[in-house]
Symmetry: C2
Subunit: 370 residues, 2 copies
Amino acid sequence: MKNPALLLIASGETSPDIRYAAGFSTPDEFILFGVDGVLCAVMSPLEYDRARANAAPDCQVLAESELGGPDRMAVFREIVRRFRIDGFIVPENFPLLWADKLRAAGIPVETRAGTFFPEREFKSKEEADKIRECEKGAAAGFFRAREVLGEASVGKNGMLVRDGEPLTSETLRAEIDAAMLRSGMLPTGTICAGGSQSARPHETGSGALYAGTPIVLDIFPKSQTTGYWGDMTRTVVKGKAPEIVRRAHRAVCEAKKRAISLLGIGAIPAEIHRAADAVLQKHGFFTGIGNAGHFGFFHGLGHGVGLEIHEAPRLSPGNVRPLRGGEIVTVEPGLYYPEWGGVRQEDLLWLSPDGETVDFTEVDDRLEIE
Amino acid sequence: MKNPALLLIASGETSPDIRYAAGFSTPDEFILFGVDGVLCAVMSPLEYDRARANAAPDCQVLAESELGGPDRMAVFREIVRRFRIDGFIVPENFPLLWADKLRAAGIPVETRAGTFFPEREFKSKEEADKIRECEKGAAAGFFRAREVLGEASVGKNGMLVRDGEPLTSETLRAEIDAAMLRSGMLPTGTICAGGSQSARPHETGSGALYAGTPIVLDIFPKSQTTGYWGDMTRTVVKGKAPEIVRRAHRAVCEAKKRAISLLGIGAIPAEIHRAADAVLQKHGFFTGIGNAGHFGFFHGLGHGVGLEIHEAPRLSPGNVRPLRGGEIVTVEPGLYYPEWGGVRQEDLLWLSPDGETVDFTEVDDRLEIE
């Protein structure tokens, strides 16, 4: 293709790329194309006025009726004709149906490998500030959890009790989430996983919570206004933590600290992951598969955060591409054993373009709550 | 293709189809395939244990390592080999990258038109109960809003005041959302649009709220546990509503009532939409485009709700397919005029398989709040 246009069909709610380019978000899909360095969003009557009011400065808003819509193929043909383009470059997750229809109409379609707008990975100061706001919202949620757990009493069999009722994962989550909402954050599946549930990294958690067992609180809100995310995890124990949990917590905190010290422009993610794992092993915590499934440290050390909760770069054993300025990543070592549960500690950090590493997670690593 | 397999690559968070089939949800993408009437989810080590614990009874969970993973192409080749299939049927929004890779490897890929699991449109009693729970959560949010607006006082220039501060869309939204969280619902962009903002149907709303102007409250939470949605809208005015708002509200309520009375198995959505519009016109409210954009009733009357907030069937002027038992739809006529704002009233209704129409929105249509 000599003169291709960029093409996206997505909703702002599900596509961070279209949100990044358009500067606004919609519940329904729309078409966005880019030609000669200019981006244009094609809007239905329902969304047109709102899009015009909120579009990014470098994104034009066109009514679909100007381009022969609402029939999408008519719109595509009009774009081809009007801008004399000879094909479309689309993201990897472009809907197959529309690629097939375009190709059947003789219009070439090619995917762009990786992130569609790779510049999304490198955050400006303005974007970093937005993400820091999200992390503050997450911290507000965590502090509320600490408060609620502090006020809870310990009932029969160690069950936590609040206002005469068992304190459950569901109640604790609602308290965390309500605190985040007050700072404009949208909770999206806050993890409050206690006891044996904490041994499964993505388990959301349900049912009564108990003293003396780890409770993993993984909090990752999305800003209602900006669409950016925060992400943090702390593991807490109401009352006295068992020796094994204390040891694992110490190991995980040390692994986190070590990994953060290695972050920086030019550092290799795979090496940082391995360094964190080495700290865990030094403390006697190993990784493998047993009868009850996986145990130890069996996920990546971290991931990029931006308009996606999981985005580039991955801090994984397989990623050898050096880190670059502007990236925002989590560092979240964890240990999970079916016998006693799990521990994970997660901070969110910005590699500022001038080489500084800024920890956005202003929350200490205290394990026990009295 | 003589012996194709169904194939999905998606996360449970973004694909209602994969959630429906697998019975669980994940933040990250996974592969799900169906062959000889059996569904299999292919999970990474991170998700394997949780998937096994939560999978639907008729969905098997395989470790990606059993199928040559994590390399996806290896997994696809192994599925082809092991089950002797000759291609894949995929959803319309299947990621183009993987379709291109499969086809390049000589494995045919075809999209299935429309909803991938069309049976999602027809809700069982069990599913209807889950959606009714969501609607109750939405109503809890609305009742909280009424309470907050009732307690607010009217300050200078009609600005609403609460605890000495201006009552804003953001504050009211946080109150609605917090009330929903307590019932296990995830708010997802609750609309609190006051004054001129209410004239834009999808405007989320921001800034101070005022007495004597319409405030559109469109509340559509997603259940954190089931993934189903609720959806309701009420328009309210603090204090006395202007005559034009009262007239529009009366027209919209009558249009809603009329449309609901026409719902039923065999009814034609396009006819119901037109009947609602006719009621609005009878009251003197017309639709068109002016200098300031669209005015009147310029969106569809309603839409299906399930694991998607917008799904089939659409109650739109273009849909002539008769309604069927098990469908759950919104009925939400609205009127929007840049001069004075907007009014929308929305209920959620189940067409039970035995022909009954059940209104899930147990909230009255009162306009004014003292």
